[in-house]
């Protein structure tokens, strides 16, 4: 990279940071602090399942080779349900694949329901609306009522946006304190259904995570959820979600292997077409 970029960053660091940490910053922090409930969760023995999906594709001379999969896996690496789809189609837009992956997650969640005490889906439910078709989101609402949605990062400004926040809400909760606890649940609407948003830290000095709960979330219910999540969590994040992510991940090597099975690798011009 240009060394001028680094030099500029060094010179203007204070000015640029002050844009985020302006006078409003401390006001928001104070507000976040007032909404934070200190709570050291107590691990509750349970079986948690993580659900995640993945998709990948390769373009080939007007055709799209794509794969989508979704999996429900427990912290002990027991696969509760899985689904996949692979095809060569004339078109496979990312929005379409994202929507299908979400529908697949909903379906896997439905299959896993009752097989684990706690079912967690990776990522935010609200952000899914922006990436996929509304039908997919409503499918989730239908089939995942008992699930919780967990994200490590979030851009949501639902709580501090009206106060003129520059960063996402999770940023301010992360800066209020380093103690374990959670924010007062805030109710919002998702596809005409109530959705509760909670920011939580499972252990002291671990990153804040964002939790969305589709059923009613009282303080007591949030505490019970945190206790379950704390069991088999690593670094403040449920291990079942890490396993789900690793299990379903479709890498470029995987899609190359699939292209090889279809014989696409051997076609003239294949390498250009396969984005390589």
């Amino acid at each position: 990279m240009l060394k001028e970029v680094f030099l500029g960053a060094l010179r203007n660091k204070d000015v640029k940071i002050s844009k985020i940490k302006d006078s409003n910053f401390h006001k928001i922090l104070a507000e976040a602090s007032s909404r934070w409930i200190s709570y050291e969760s107590v691990p509750e023995i349970c079986e948690s399942a993580g659900i995640d999906s993945s998709w990948n594709r390769r373009a080939f001379q007007g055709l799209q080779l794509y794969v989508i999969d979704a999996v429900a896996v427990t912290s002990t690496n027991k696969i509760l349900a899985l689904e996949w789809e692979e095809d060569i189609a004339g078109s496979a837009r990312s929005e379409l694949l994202e929507s299908r992956a979400m529908v697949m997650e909903a379906s896997v969640a439905q299959k896993a329901a009752g097989k684990a005490d706690n079912i967690c889906l990776d990522g935010s439910l609200v952000s899914r609306l922006t990436k996929s078709k509304p039908e997919a989101a409503s499918e989730i609402v239908k089939k995942c009522t008992s699930c919780i949605f967990i994200s490590k990062t979030s851009e949501s400004r639902l709580q501090f946006g009206p106060m003129g926040s520059k960063a996402g809400d999770i940023y301010y909760y992360g800066h209020t304190s380093k103690e374990a606890g959670f924010s007062i649940p805030v109710e919002t609407q998702f596809c005409h259904a109530p959705l509760f948003e909670v920011y939580a830290r499972l252990r002291d000095h671990t990153p804040v995570i964002r939790i969305e709960i589709m059923s009613n979330a009282t303080e007591q219910e949030v505490k019970s959820t945190l206790n379950k999540l704390r069991y088999h969590s690593v670094g403040g994040y449920p291990y079942c979600l890490k396993l789900a992510h690793n299990t379903c991940k479709i890498t470029n090597e995987d899609i190359d292997r699939l292209a090889s099975i279809y014989g696409l690798q051997n076609e003239q011009g294949a390498r250009d077409a396969l984005n390589e």
Partner: protein, 511 residues
């Protein structure tokens, strides 16, 4: 076929493959792969265990602690990988031939534990030349044998840190050679073998003595400790050490030598040097009277055929020991040449040793040093080069391989290498021998006392061996200082008590 152990993964090569195992695999374990025209034997050279949860992304202790718990409950968490060196077709190895398949095995090929029957046929072949030396390190049910013919014809280096079992291995070889009525000579620099109890019929213990009459003037100068750069003194000794003096025996020899040196001193130019030489001769006569023996017969005549001859060099200085060893090596090589010529009907006189001999030199880095020319180095080099033709085998033993002359080390056709930590030593062995791969050398730090890697011509394959302990060898370990001091202190206390009690009149102490 034994139990399936794992499956080949990744890129395979004709001589090297990786497999995912169902259990942790030990380095040195033998495995069987089924591909090509027959079963193929492999050796696990590296082994690793990794955990998905406990990966390198762990950032702090807390995360490690939590990950440990989730890893314990996830039965797919661990990955046991083994790295195999392909050694050859089993059927060919049983015939002592290492034939590698031309093609690599396909990934997905199953890996099995090698059966005792297969390993036995490979590592413990039958035949009189194959002697039992221990068991395979990871398959203790399988004996490990070595080919003594190859030791004698192609030589052996025994290399290890102190206390790892070098002398035990040499003793074991001696024991086995005695069992088959072979002839061996051990130069015992640290008095490690004098208590080797194999029955008086098998052992011939000798004190390392030198007959000064049989030496050259230069060697005699070394023995009586005339400095190398004292050219005048050397000149005096050369003139004094006449054939006539050499004919004298016993004390007469020393008197004649002193007389002759004094006579050389009549020349004004050498008066001072002659006086010093006389002093040196007189000194050596008194100081080394147990070592320098002008009345002894030919030292070679003291060595016995079909016995283990142990020459104790403990009382000799390094220079004297060097001369003694070189003398024996030169004489033995000459004798073996004579024996070979006689077999061809060309020899004029009878050789003393009609059958091959194995010579073991302890502390090889002292006698065969890298950066110095010694007499022993010269003759050891000759034996290493020519010994094969004449049936004179060499065993060099050292805890400091980096100090041994690389040329001689490279001519050792067989190796027994035990625990070795110093990188320099490992590099030196690696450079001097093709028999040990880099991966095998990397394992040297993980060996325990009594464990060794055997490689080269005395074994069919590089072998991890647990060497048998020679019970007949009574000492050789470290002195237990604290124990001995305590015993002495207790004795002293007892003696003091007894001596003070003798001064107390009886009845003086009342109860």
């Amino acid at each position: 076929m034994s139990e399936e152990l794992g499956i080949l993964i990744g890129v395979t090569k004709p001589d090297q493959v990786t497999f995912e195992s169902r259990r942790p695999v030990s380095i040195g374990e033998y495995v069987i792969l089924n591909y090509g025209i027959d079963k193929v034997l492999g050796l696990v050279e590296k082994s690793s265990i990794s955990s998905d949860a406990l990966g390198s992304s762990i950032r702090n202790y807390e995360e490690a602690f939590e990950s440990k718990h989730v890893a314990a409950e996830n039965r797919r968490d661990k990955s046991y990988k083994g790295y195999i060196r392909i050694l050859g077709y089993v059927a060919e190895l049983k015939k002592c031939k290492a034939i590698l398949p031309a093609l690599p095995p396909e990934p997905g090929t199953e890996v099995y534990e090698a059966s005792v029957k297969d390993l036995d046929a490979i590592f413990a072949p039958s035949g009189q030349q194959w002697v039992m030396i221990g068991t395979l390190l990871r398959n203790t049910g399988v004996g490990a044998r070595v080919d003594i013919n190859k030791v004698v014809s192609r030589h052996l280096a025994v290399l290890a840190m102190t206390g790892m079992g070098k002398s035990n291995l040499v003793s074991l070889l001696a024991k086995e050679i005695a069992r088959i009525s072979g002839t061996m000579v051990i130069f015992d620099y640290h008095d490690d073998y004098s208590t080797l109890d194999m029955g008086s019929n098998n052992i011939n213990l000798l004190d390392g003595r030198i007959n000064p009459r049989l030496l050259s003037a230069d060697k005699l100068a070394e023995v009586i400790e005339i400095q190398e750069n004292a050219s005048n003194q050397m000149h005096v000794l050369r003139l004094a050490f006449t054939e006539d003096v050499k004919q004298r025996k016993g004390e007469d020899f020393w008197d004649a030598l002193i007389h002759a040196a004094s006579e050389v001193g009549a020349d004004k130019l050498y008066r001072e040097a002659a006086a010093k030489v006389v002093d040196k001769i007189d000194d050596a006569r008194r100081k080394f009277h147990t070592i320098l023996d002008p009345s002894m017969t030919d030292p070679l005549a003291l060595l016995k055929n079909y016995k283990i001859n142990i020459i104790n060099l403990v009382e000799l200085t390094e220079r004297q020991a060097n001369i003694a060893v070189s003398f024996y090596l030169e004489e033995l090589l000459d004798d073996r040449k004579k024996a070979t010529r006689q077999n061809k009907g060309a020899a004029k006189s009878q050789p003393r040793f009609p059958a091959p001999i194995l010579v073991a030199i302890e502390e090889a880095h002292v006698f065969i040093p890298k950066d110095e020319d010694t007499d022993t180095k010269y003759f050891a080099s000759k034996v290493a080069r020519e010994g094969r033709k004449f049936g004179l085998g060499l065993v060099i033993v050292s805890q400091r391989p980096r100090g041994i002359d690389a040329n001689i080390l490279s001519q050792m056709g067989s190796l027994a290498v035990m625990r070795m930590i110093q990188q320099d030593d490992q590099m030196h062995i690696s450079a001097a021998s093709e028999a040990l791969s880099r991966d095998l050398i990397d394992q040297l730090t993980s060996l325990n006392p009594g464990e060794a890697i055997f490689a080269g011509q005395w074994v069919n394959l590089p072998t991890f061996v647990k060497v048998d302990e020679v019970k007949e060898r009574k000492i050789g370990g470290d002195q237990k200082a604290v124990e001995q001091w305590s015993q002495l202190a207790a004795l002293k206390q007892q003696a003091a008590k007894e001596s003070s009690e003798s001064y107390i009149p009886s009845g003086y102490i009342q109860d």
